[in-house]
Symmetry: C2
């Protein structure tokens, strides 16, 4: 009887497998031509779901190529069997985001048990990585795949190709016939009426970290067009060391692996520009700046703002500190090997701090983010990255900038600080850092853009139109988020919804950046779309770094165990505490408790 | 009783697992400092096995970093448990090579059953891919990891770093104190005494295919140093279309997506250089060449040899033929889209023909090689590639070149054909192709280098010394082959072994290229090391192409099913038959049966 029932169970199981298999087989992608009665290119309406590729024909019919999308059907809208299973298991991204940012006991368990933590990080790294094309498919000059998107690395990558040129409306088929006037948009949507502080207590160390970190890979080549970059594909630490070999050589001390420095008030600072040959810094020609205020840094514009100068100084000191540690371990190493190895350690520190301090604060996740690249070794994760034009566009975070900053007894407005590092020397580096740590940054939302940088925003919106970015809802779909149904669904705010309705006519026509900033609040520092679209680009860029790959991620790459330990124990706090004269305090990405 | 014995078995099983687990745990990499009494840097002797990384200290001790090598112990010589298991299952590479090149019934089965064939290709693509650093770790200016190896793409990659500068002998610690005189080496080892034809009936279509194909990515930047390249990381079809955008623009017709052509004797040929603005071809200034003999091709030196000119002409015709097919499908597409999509199809054809015709013949494998990139989708395979300096070095295959070629009733010596395409027009393209197909190429071995190109070989050996390539045995070890024990083990030839013994003193000191060419024969076109070292670089370069990746490998990338079918059904024979005036015959990489 037992054997009989076992056999029946086995037959039942085989039957289920067979049905499932045949179902999944009937779901194999088939390209079906769809006829339409439209009087325009049907691909302008983005009919293909789930990243299916639309191809239209002169008779106004179209085909969706659903290959490798896990979907089938004329519009790639039907899920294959395995996709359905995965969808059943996988939580909805909006719900997951609420879970991740809620104080749940499950995070406490995961945060404290090694293998669960590894599993969580593996899931985060892989699921984020899967959402980024690698190799890249698109650039800004074609609305279809070209070899150039991959081989011409002077292009920024594109996650979604440009809106085709010949569509009925600027954003495709929906919305207004002419995009809103930019000055009106600035005024109605972006301009700060009154400073709105970030509700998560974010401080100016965070704001300047964001700017200092991202400008190593956001390097638009404006002598060409905004679709081109002068930079590399990720965390190349060129913001600290220089982008070109000539620049890198110029700021090296050529002994003990160190970067050039000078002593001012008994402290180490970057050298004056006049003392360094062969590099140029971006000082605006019409502003009078004395030679004592011009410095030679790794990045040509980092001496224009005191906060960026602070980070440049701290990283220069950290590099030189690491060189001393390495030389102590390897007294036989020459300048070149000390320099190159310290640079690898600094790269590791940058990634560690960015994940564990910066992204942790930005996301407000309650699960502890850990820099453990080994969890993706041997998986499908691709250790290569390119910067997407849309990532650069998204990362215009001027709302973080307050109207001014109080340092000791002196208040500096934004313009007081521009083009000068003087304030750092007036108060001393440590006092300036203390002010950055205790001053509130602005909320990353609409109606909070500082008035003095509105021209930057306007220029960037112009570029966005030139590059023909698709609307916010197409990006939502691309990153597995449900498109906004209407303006209230987007904003959660009646007045703003009404304004946007007037400006755009249809929520599908809302421009990418406008949608990112007008979305209702989320538990993170930014609205949800910004987290779930920017997150994949960010995580991919960090973990795809070569140092994270199996042949690199080992002690010898970093000069042995001592160097590897520096990477694996790096933190924002240590970075500052190891490189400040006074006792460091309040080093974090949020203002201390009790700050007004 | 039954239950009792089951329980015992279960306990036994658990005990075995526990022992295995504890063994594997005790095998976790540990870096142990090893003291030595040497009077030189102990890393010069490459003490770390299995790709362990050697790091030495001023007291002449050293450490091997075995992380991620699957091995442990002071010299990374002990296999971890899983490595042992894999080694037990995995056949020895030399034995596998004999199997793969033998007529066995098992290949007939695999060749005829789809899923077995897929499994075989997956194994080949993954196992070859695993042997190539991706991301790259080394370049030629440092004997240790640097960020520049990855970010500075003007470097050729390096599979093994250069021999350190301060070692007791030129090749490390073994062999002669001074490397053999190059002229002596040319004379004793390389120079052709009498033409040795390839025993596998290889013809000149093969020889010229090799040269035409590889020069899209072997583009040493000689205005700098031999460690730098002007090229990209793989099959970018720049040999057909041009490396720079200016070059590409210059040879485009700007209508229907086509490349420029002219009609000579009722056939399509590339345009004269004088009819094309903005490009330069590499015509040597001291050779008088009439304007009617100067052509504008995708690659600046491809008009210097008639065989390369033939392939350039055929690919130009194929591109234009594909444009016609695409235009027929998509009459609404503009010139740009037809051009870009045809280029993607040509890329697919190149890879297909290279794997299924060229590598198939080169390897003499009896298992059918198939271009099926989908088998590695979702695996650890990395879709990114860089060209290794050693790959370029290895690919100096001049022994293939015969002393001359008979075309109809005329015999051309090598020098008769250099710098001129005249012979192609004298006989007509089809007659010239017939001669290439029916003329024997030389055997890829020592003592078969044509005398007129010996200066090229000498220069390349000089560069190899400048770049400090490690010896043949270090490359054998790097690619999981046992090092040669002595000169007889290398050559299988007493006279040659004696010569090499005198020249190098120790088999570990034999230079890379010398070892590649003096190795005993194998069933492939080249000796075994060449296959098993060059193979991974080649396979990785072909399958890591962006078109092979999951988001690219679909019909829409190639303009729909018709374009995708062109890729998936491409062959050497079709390439020629579709683009020759006369009925094509004997198109293959070997001379027809019965050729003397």
């Amino acid at each position: 009887m037992q054997a009989m029932s076992d056999r029946r169970r086995a037959i039942g199981f085989i039957a289920v497998v067979a049905v499932v298999w045949s179902l999944s087989f009937s779901g194999k992608p088939q390209n079906n031509r769809v006829a339409t009665t439209l009087d325009y290119d049907p691909c302008c309406g983005y009919p293909c779901g789930n990243q299916g590729v639309c191809m239209s024909f002169p008779d106004r019919s179209y085909e969706c190529d659903c290959t490798n999308t896990g979907h089938y059907g004329a519009n790639c809208s039907k899920a294959e069997f395995m996709t359905t299973v995965v969808k059943l298991i996988k939580p909805d991204p909006e719900y997951l985001h609420i879970l991740l940012t809620s104080d749940l006991w499950v995070w406490k368990i995961i945060n404290n048990i090694g293998f669960l933590q590894d599993a969580a990080m593996k899931y985060i790294f892989l699921s984020r990585g899967d959402q980024v094309d690698s190799p890249v498919r698109f650039e800004s000059d074609h609305s279809y795949i070209t070899l150039d998107a991959y081989y011409n690395e002077t292009y920024y990558a594109r996650t979604l190709p440009p809106i085709p040129e010949h569509c009925p409306t600027p954003m495709g088929v929906k919305g207004v016939k002419e995009l809103p006037n930019l000055d009106l948009l600035m005024k109605k949507v972006f301009a700060r009426k009154e400073f709105i502080p970030d509700p998560h207590d974010t401080n100016l160390l965070f704001q300047y970290y964001a700017q200092h970190f991202t400008h190593q890979f956001f390097r638009t080549n404006y002598t060409m067009c905004p679709q081109f970059t002068k930079g590399n594909g990720g965390v190349d630490v060129s913001n600290i060391y220089g982008l070109t070999e000539q620049h890198r050589r110029a700021i090296r001390m050529n002994s003990d692996g160190k970067l050039k420095y000078q002593v001012i008030n008994d402290e180490h600072y970057p050298p004056y520009l006049r003392d360094v040959q062969g590099i140029e810094m971006d000082y605006p020609p019409h502003i009078p700046i004395t030679e004592d205020n011009k410095f030679a840094l790794g990045h040509p514009f980092f001496a224009l703002l005191p906060g960026l100068f602070v980070f440049s100084t701290i990283w220069m000191r950290e590099h030189n500190r690491v060189c001393d540690v390495l030389k102590n371990q390897h007294p036989d190493w020459d300048d070149e090997r000390l320099y190159q190895t310290a640079k690898l350690i600094i790269t590791g520190e940058v990634i560690k701090i960015t994940i564990e301090d910066y992204v942790q604060h930005l996301s407000q996740y309650k699960v502890d983010l850990k820099f453990k690249p080994q969890v993706v070794h041997g998986t499908r994760f691709q250790f290569d990255n390119r910067i997407n034009a849309e990532f650069n566009h998204l990362y215009h975070w001027h709302p973080l900038i307050p109207d001014g900053i109080q340092v000791e007894d002196k208040y500096y407005s934004l313009m007081d600080m521009a083009f000068s590092t003087k304030s750092v020397f007036t108060h001393g580096l440590d006092k300036f850092i203390e002010s950055m740590a205790t001053s509130r940054a602005g909320k990353l939302s609409h109606s909070n853009h500082p008035l003095v940088t509105l021209p930057v925003l306007k220029k960037m919106m112009e570029n966005g139109r030139k590059l023909r970015y698709q609307g916010i809802n197409e990006y939502r779909k691309r990153f597995a988020l449900k498109p906004f149904k209407d303006f209230m669904d987007l904003t959660g705010d009646e007045a703003l919804a009404k304004d946007l309705q007037e400006l755009y006519g249809h929520v599908d026509a809302v421009e990418f950046y406008v949608g990112l900033l007008t979305e209702k609040d989320s538990p993170s520092l930014t609205p949800l779309t910004m987290v779930n679209v920017g997150g994949p680009w960010s995580v991919k860029g960090l973990i795809a770094n070569p140092i994270c790959s199996p042949h690199w991620w080992k002690p010898s790459t970093f000069g042995g165990d001592v160097g590897f330990d520096i990477v694996n124990s790096a933190s924002l706090e240590k970075l500052f505490c190891n490189n400040m004269k006074s006792k460091c305090k309040n080093i974090a990405f949020k203002v201390p408790r009790g700050t007004p």
